[in-house]
């Protein structure tokens, strides 16, 4: 099956590959896997605690071209967005942007899961480090 030009572009020139310090309090890490194909995807976000804006995002994916492209695109999309805006990203938008065929939809699902997992991890850290402020809210 042929990959779309956008998938090939992300595959050949993946954006934001790398990693951040997962112990850092302003970094959220999402590690997710697709049992159907054995893919594993790690997506990390760096969030400004004052504005809740995602200032940086990195990923590392082991998997097929569609999984790499989906996560690469996900990092591009979350950057500059607030946590809430990033949570509204849907896998169907990734499918549309990358023109993924039905058999590769699970790759986009995985990318959405990774965003949610990273944000979830970040939120958990915030609650753990600033319990007093949470209560004030």
């Amino acid at each position: 099956m042929a990959y779309s030009d956008k998938v090939i572009d992300h595959y050949n020139n993946p954006r934001n590959v790398g990693s951040m310090d997962k112990a850092s309090s302003d970094v959220g890490t999402g590690l997710v896997g697709a049992p159907e194909c054995g893919d594993v995807m790690k997506l990390q976000i760096k969030v400004n605690p004052e504005t809740n804006v995602i200032e940086d995002a990195k990923f590392k994916t082991f998997g097929c071209g569609s999984a790499i492209a989906s996560s690469s695109l996900a990092t591009e999309w979350v950057k500059g967005k607030t946590i809430d805006e990033a949570l509204s990203i849907k896998n169907t938008e990734i499918v549309k942007e990358l023109a993924l065929p039905p058999v590769k939809i699970h790759c986009s699902v995985l990318a959405e899961d990774a965003i949610r997992a990273a944000i979830g991890d970040w939120k958990k850290k915030q609650e753990a480090t600033r319990p007093a402020e949470m209560q004030i809210q």
């Binding site: 896997g33 049992p35 159907e36 194909c37 054995g38 896998n91 959405e112 997992a117």
Partner: protein, 245 residues
């Protein structure tokens, strides 16, 4: 059967009847109990094809015996002189017999087949779980447990390193040892998962006889979970072997 002699009367699943096409008495699965004529393949699942209950802890010796006995009786050569519909049905039954045998003989295929029969669709489930997470704002429970994911990720990092070194013609014994150890650990997990699956079979079989719908559903989920983890590890071991070649 008005058109029994015409070549176009190949039986499609669903067309099979409860009665023998030849003598009209109630028929058995493969041959008529009364007149012994071969019957069109009934639209049944592979368990029913052999007359087994939908259970998983299957005695493969019994399966094999049934398979060989039916193979001999259904073999198209036996019907060389028979009517054309009978030849077609024996062929159809033989082919279903082979599919059913191959599926039920293999413990993993058998489990996957049963789950499909029970309406468990892996991909669908994953998508539904994501949609639920989106709607409720709760974190989706990952099918693969976090520590296994960590291990998979780490190992993939090592494998990438190994491939890079290979391209440069370098050799790092420490890295190879690391990967070898990881592979061993995965293979142990792989074997352990099969035992876990067999334990679920026993639970399933007991629940088929006297369990509730909830219990059955719970066991189905558990079996799916075990198979998922097992597939994950199988793919990873395959990648390791490829990288080590």
């Amino acid at each position: 059967m008005a058109n029994a002699d015409s070549k176009s009367s190949l039986i499609v699943p669903g067309e099979a009847t409860e009665r023998c096409w030849s003598c009209g008495t109630m028929r058995a699965q493969h041959f008529c109990n009364s007149c012994g004529k071969v019957q069109p393949a009934a639209p049944v699942d592979y368990f029913m094809f052999f007359g087994f209950p939908r259970k998983l802890d299957l005695d493969t010796a019994v399966l094999e015996k049934e398979f060989y006995a039916l193979s001999r009786r259904l073999h198209p050569d036996v019907f060389a002189q028979a009517e054309s519909v009978e030849r077609a049905w024996s062929l159809e039954q033989s082919s279903m017999l082979n599919d059913a045998y191959r599926t039920l003989k293999d413990p993993i295929k058998r489990t996957e087949y049963l789950l499909r029969l029970e309406g468990v669709e892996l991909e669908e489930q994953s998508k539904q779980a994501t949609e639920k997470a989106r709607a409720t704002g709760e974190l989706k429970k990952q099918v693969v447990p976090p520590d296994l994911l960590e291990e998979v990720f780490e190992l993939n990092m090592h494998l990438e390193e190994l491939r890079g070194q290979k391209e440069l013609g370098e050799d790092d014994p420490a890295l190879l040892e690391e990967i070898g150890k990881a592979k061993l650990s995965l293979e142990e997990k792989f074997d352990a998962l099969f035992n876990e699956l067999k334990a679920e079979w026993k639970k399933w079989d007991a629940a088929v006889d006297s369990g509730t719908e909830e219990q059955l559903a719970q066991i189905r989920d558990q079996m799916l979970d075990v198979l998922n983890r097992r597939n994950y590890i199988r793919n990873l071991v395959r990648d390791v072997n490829e990288a080590l070649e």
